[in-house]
Subunit: 206 residues, 2 copies
């Protein structure tokens, strides 16, 4: 998987070093903002070495961005006890969702994917699948089981899952992504999450 890019990539001792430096610089400076010299410096590697591994800046960026998209899918996976009542589960998942949204890492990768989705169309797609779509898949799965248990009554599971996640981002997400605020009080979080749970249960509770 990591060498999926048409065998462009040579082997060598410092390969991982280059990738690590690129990751760091790209994630903080974006594609245009990052200079290859900076990346080489951050990686502790000469520019010639860098260019012996990757044919150009574009491909280096894509390799980094794609691996970061994958990372978010794995990082956000977390085992949960699904035997509690739906209200409790949802409140938990809501808090977790907000944690992810407001995390430094998610903000950065989202910002980069939005910013570069015109220059790198596959990138937006990749992020959509490993992010929102994966989140929906997991929640949808839970909703299905909870419904089978008779705790909820849902017709369109994907819609319901998306709705809940969206409800958890109320006001917080725009503020984060537009740089208005970066941190939020527990009261703010509770207001949104509890509001989401109340609304969800009013609609789909039995």
């Amino acid at each position: 998987m990591s060498t999926a890019t048409k065998a462009v990539i040579r082997t060598g001792r410092k390969f991982e070093q280059v990738l690590q430096g690129a990751r760091q610089v790209f994630m903080t400076d974006g594609y245009e903002g990052a200079s290859v010299d900076d990346i080489a410096k951050a990686a502790g590697v000469s520019k010639a070495t860098l260019y012996s591994y990757f044919p150009d800046k574009r491909l280096l960026f894509m390799e980094v961005a794609r691996s970061e998209c994958d990372r978010q899918a794995y990082e956000t996976a977390e085992p949960t006890d699904f035997n509690a009542p739906p209200r409790d589960i949802l409140r938990l998942l809501g808090r977790k969702t907000l944690e992810i949204i407001t995390s430094e890492f998610s903000q950065r990768i989202f910002r980069i994917c939005v910013g570069e989705s015109e220059r790198f169309p596959e990138l937006g797609r990749e992020f959509y699948q490993t992010g929102p779509l994966e989140g929906r898949r997991r929640l949808s799965e839970y909703l299905r089981r909870s419904c089978a248990r008779g705790e909820l009554q849902i017709e369109d599971f994907d819609l319901a899952a998306d709705q809940f996640i969206e409800l958890c981002r109320v006001d917080i997400f725009p503020r984060v992504i537009l740089g208005v605020d970066t941190e939020f009080s527990q009261a703010e979080i509770d207001r949104v999450v509890d509001g989401a749970v109340d609304m969800f249960m009013a609609r789909y509770g039995t």
Copy 2:
């Protein structure tokens, strides 16, 4: 308001021309992507003239971006007959919301505000206020009146307004902003809007 920036900006015959050219180029190419030469050409003006009006590229951009933020507030204002039943009103407002979100103009300005909110922190704030906050204010106002009429029962009007708007963006917004899709069938739109109205009424209906 338009000359709020420390009186840096001169007046003159071609002032509006410059602004118009800058608007066009910045909105399609972003801040970094736009070259001053391109802007001067698009404005039909010499670079020297451009620089006689604006001291540098940054200020020119900020003037454009701020005026575009204001524009979105005015463009999205539209008189509506608020005497119909809430379900109908909400369905209408939901469709309108989706129209705005999927419009070329909103996408561009949102993308630019997100992308440049680190370089221009005031920009993110400005967009947040003329966009999400203004949308909330209007809907919240309606909800208040509708509640007074006994059609709805709401405790936190701002929260309820944000929730409804957020519900209307379900799945559509991420796909738009990540460049996964640009157009949506009426069926997709109806599914989301009707889902939002159903949920909202289940929670706040009397």
